[in-house]
Amino acid sequence: MTTVSEPKGARGAAPVSRKLAINRLRDRRPLDPAAVDRFLARHAVPVVEGARCTFLYRGEADEVFLIHRIFGLPDHLPLRRLHGTDLWYAVLELPEGSRVEYQLEVVRGGRRERINDPLNPRLAHSPVGSSSVCYAFGHVVPDWTFPDPEARPGSLADLVVPSRALRRDCPVTLYLPARFRRTARYPLLIVHDGGDYLGYAGAKTVLDNLIHRLDVAELVAAFVYPGDRLAEYANSAAHARFMTAELLPRLEAEVPLAGRPAGRCLMGSSFGAVAALSAAYRYPGAYGSLLLQSGSFVFTDIGRDHGGGPPFEPVVRFINRYRAAPRRVADRMFVSCGVYEPLIVPNRSMVPVFEAAGMTVRYVEARDGHSWENWRDRLRDGLSWIFPGPQKFFYE
């Protein structure tokens, strides 16, 4: 089953047919610095007018480029200088509900500098730095991603799980829901790249809110942290053994968990999704559900050129092997991907493979990229499907 997350409200101006603001400015006389000042004071940047988004840069430069990772578009889009001014612009059509991360590349005297958009205060953060964000018309940041004073907060506790498999002490952050009771039994969500989900995807706020709203069942989440990420998350037997033979038994011994496959879910994004799939593949039947976001499921149909570079070699071998002999590794699988990321093709391609292996798959796409906000904004779709909250029981 495939769905595209639909925008549920509007951001920016309503669709318009009249002249774009940048073109009205171009016609203005005199087109002096004061006119540009007034223009920038009046408009949020990028200027969103229906499907058209005008990206701007102000300053002296030889060239300016819009750098983005929208799959299907040239990744360097040149900005044009507005004649007689130091204002540069490029107009990009973005479908309703899109969210795009970007930077600007400014060229001066042969030097290229990549910067966040100085005219746009909206930033997205990730382990590799920050970038500017353009919210297209119709994009809405879900309200459940913001702290809700009505939602009783769960708690976080740090623990260390010594791992013989990984030959290191593995830090784990445990999330316990508000109203946690030792007499209850909770489903378990194990989250790869746990620190990033907590730091960049607001995972604790999201869990607090979704549980408070009864969208998601009260659950315990274990946020795990990679050591050598590219090695551990690329179909590593040691990682799978740590997750299943070391972490899981420890948690089920110490925390009141459901303790059956239906109550266990492995989650991850990008390489973390590969790690989740790999662990379930190596221990079929251990996990009832997988939540895989923008999985790096790169494969080749012929030849060896996968374009991912050396870190992807073990991933490609694994995915090629899986595609050749698909195996049922869980009962249910939630898969999501942004349509603007190159991984959209492999993810779309894996859905029928997973289904053919006998798993129930829910697949969701969003007009977004390979980003933590995308993964955050899909969490309600995924978690409410895997561990539905008790809404159906409540009739106030």
């Binding site: 239906a262 409410s384 499907w385 809404q391 159906k392 029981f393 009739y395 106030e396």
Partner: protein, 312 residues
């Protein structure tokens, strides 16, 4: 027994019922707010609405007390809950395929062969529902036979206390909340044996009076769910499926979907309990069947459209 069913009480109407029926005049009003779970004691407003003579039966608190003081029973109850959850999982898995078959046939059906195929697909769903209810009730019965609640001192103590309170009560008011928790404690403390007329109930409280509790939520974040049987209530009301918040929770404008809903539970009436609803019915012995509901009650007809009962 006189039963007064109300719609959701965000804008309370229970005060008008209390005045009209002089609740509390001949004795205290027994109030059940166990569906509110840990908020069970927050009943000051409700007490005021029913005239100030409310006695909360505190069924949720009593259940927690049983958990604390009778760990053997609690452990067994938890195993029962796990068994029921597993039964529900398999039921939902089968129901998903069975109902998708119904909708697929319904979309295509034309002519005699199509009608026959649709009837058979519906029959499969109805049989699945019936089998699930038998299994659930069987598991509960087996549990209660193995650990008779009346033989458990803590439960017996609470039952005796509750019987005394209900014996002196002039009416029983059952609020909404978590219908599973509510039905569970009503059964545990055998409230059916001591109910006092009239019973005023709304939302989950009303659902818990029926013989089949049907859960429904077409607007869940994970998408429309299949209406599912969750077990039996007190069976004070029979041949009815109560639908609180129907407009907010059901895709009422989707007539084909609603037609399947109505036909699936037929001959039970699928009866809407919206804000402001007030339905008074007598429940002689076995409870009102479809023909005993007062006219004007809004139901989902077998064509999937909303209709008033006299026109159904």
């Amino acid at each position: 027994m006189r039963v007064i069913l109300l719609g959701p009480q965000r804008r309370p109407t229970v005060d008008a019922v209390a005045r009209a029926h002089s609740l509390g005049v001949s004795g205290p009003v027994a109030v059940i707010t166990a569906g509110w779970q840990e908020r069970e004691p927050d009943d000051a407003e409700l007490s005021r609405l029913v005239g100030g003579r409310a006695v909360n039966l505190a069924l949720y608190r009593r259940w927690l007390d049983v958990q604390d003081r009778d760990p053997e029973y609690f452990a067994a109850e938890r195993r029962l809950a796990e068994t029921l959850a597993e039964l529900q999982d398999y039921y939902l898995l089968r129901l998903d395929y069975a109902l998708r078959a119904v909708y697929a046939v319904q979309r295509r059906a034309c002519g005699e062969a199509g009608a026959e195929a649709f009837s058979e697909a519906m029959a499969a769903v109805r049989e699945l529902d019936a089998a699930h209810l038998r299994r659930v009730n069987g598991a509960r019965l087996e549990f209660f036979q193995r650990l008779p609640p009346h033989d458990r001192p803590v439960i017996a103590e609470h039952r005796a206390a509750l019987s005394d309170v209900l014996g002196a009560a002039s009416a029983v008011v059952i609020a909404g909340g978590h219908v599973g928790v509510l039905a569970g404690v009503l059964h545990l403390f055998n409230i059916a044996a001591s109910l006092r007329s009239p019973v005023v109930a709304w939302s989950a409280g009303a659902m818990a009076l029926t013989e089949r509790i049907v859960l429904f939520h077409d607007r869940a974040p994970q998408g429309p769910g299949h209406p599912e049987l969750s077990g039996s209530g007190l069976s004070v009301l029979r041949d009815v499926v109560l639908l609180p918040h129907a407009r907010a929770r059901l895709l009422l404008d989707d007539a084909p979907r609603m037609a399947v809903f109505a036909r699936r539970f037929s001959p039970a009436r699928c009866l809407l309990l919206e804000s402001g609803s007030r339905i008074e019915a007598e429940s002689p012995g076995g409870g009102p069947g479809g023909g005993f509901w007062p006219s004007g009650v809004r139901v989902i007809g077998e064509d999937g459209r909303l209709t008033s009962l006299e026109a159904a």
